[in-house]
């Protein structure tokens, strides 16, 4: 179990690295999907199958498909690839790499204090539902307000007014 989770975690890190270094947008999105799937595996192995399923359904299965859809609409070609190469010069890596390495060191330092108790229980969908509609009900309602606002706005912007082309 431990080995599987660690392998999935390594795959997700590798996938994330590939996401930021790819020059073709669709390849980057595909690596992002791999990263999300690996994260879902980690979640499932840590005893949260519901979160894992939602990760795949919502992020990998819906949002990333929309990303691919938009990229297909944009019809990126060779010029965009060249521009991407232009942006990804070694000099651009220095700042982010420094900041990320500080974060990485912090993480490695923090890892020592974690205790490996192993997985003792599973979080079932029922428990997730009870906590969402129990202590976190305000958050759920606020999020639904936000989504409804987004929906109404999108409908308003996309609407065809009579006599308009």
């Amino acid at each position: 179990m431990h080995i599987l989770a660690l392998t999935s975690a390594c795959i997700s890190i590798l996938g994330a690295f590939m996401v930021i270094t790819r020059r073709v947008a669709v390849h980057a999105v595909l690596y992002l999907v791999v990263t999300l799937l690996a994260l879902a595996c980690v979640l499932a192995l840590l005893g949260a199958p519901f979160a894992a399923a939602l990760e795949v359904i919502i992020y990998a299965g819906a949002i990333m498909v929309l990303f691919v859809f938009v990229i297909m609409m944009l019809n990126l070609g060779k010029p965009d690839r060249d521009r991407e190469t232009e942006w990804l010069r070694p000099r651009a890596w220095v700042g982010p790499a420094a900041l990320a390495s500080i974060l990485g060191m912090e993480l490695l330092f923090g890892l020592r204090t974690l205790s490996g108790t192993g997985i003792t229980f599973q979080i079932t969908p029922r428990e997730v539902g009870l906590s969402l509609f129990g202590p976190y009900v305000l958050m759920v309602e606020l999020a639904s307000f936000l989504l409804l606002t987004g929906l109404v706005t999108a409908f308003h912007i996309g609407r065809h007014w009579p006599g308009e082309h």
Binding site: F50, A53, G61, F69, N75
Partner: protein
Amino acid sequence: MTLLALVGIVITPLVILGLATLLTWVERRLLGVWQNRCGPNRVGPGGVLQAAADGIKILFKEDWTPPFADKGVFVLAPAIGMMTVLLSFAVIPLTFSSSIAAGLNVGLLFVLAMMGLGVYAVVLAGWASNSKFALLGGMRAAAQMISYEVFMGLALMGVVMMTGSFSLRDIVMAQSGLWFVLPQCVGFVVFLLAGIAETHRLPFDLPEGENELGAGFHTEYSGMKFGMFFIAEYAGIVLVSALITTLYLGGWQGPILPAPIWFTLKTTVLIGFFILLRAALPRPRYDQLMALGWKILLPLSLLNIVVTGAVLLLHTAG
């Protein structure tokens, strides 16, 4: 136990692939019956070896990758389609004890997740082919499948609410008194329509509408790569039929006959119904398909959830 599970994991995909291949022949024979002609009846008894002949033919065809295609993604796309369909079968219970993971407590969500990933096969095939027909087919597929996934998930919530579990085994067990097709008739119809749209079968095969898009997303595919799309589509029909059997028609349950026979019987009837739909109905326009989804199926499935919830509440309160 572990050995038995391994055997199951090896055998299940083989059986599904065999069934899907056989189904290509069954469909053509049934279409022949309904259209008052013979269909393929020359190879083997009744033409049953036609599927094998087609398989051998497609294996020996040139496996050509167009020079303008994105090679890696082009090869990956049919594999994704095949894999997601085959993985979904893991959580479907043939009988109470015989399945790979029917007891998974998020089983239904697993199926939905695999169907969500299945969209990539079509979309990436459309993008990687780097041609206009394929791209248009891929875009249609993306919009159609994402839309119909929404109603599919919502329609299933009625079943989940009545069972109180996402596990497909629990769902079948909850139908020992009454099949869910009666109390959940609205959800059943929505799920059936969404199932056809998800497998992009006729009459909802707009991503590959041959009179306007060549062959849609798989225009550039040939040889076994095309064969994989083809077989994955038929495996998808078996999957949706098996899912409807499990979710709405009581799965393996039934009188007198043994459990696997009941499951097979129900699934076979549904597959036949899918083929009949192909023989009977013309293809709608794309905007009609989307309007049917968002203006009729979405409100219907939401209403289904509200009514189911209200009835369940009244039932538990009273």
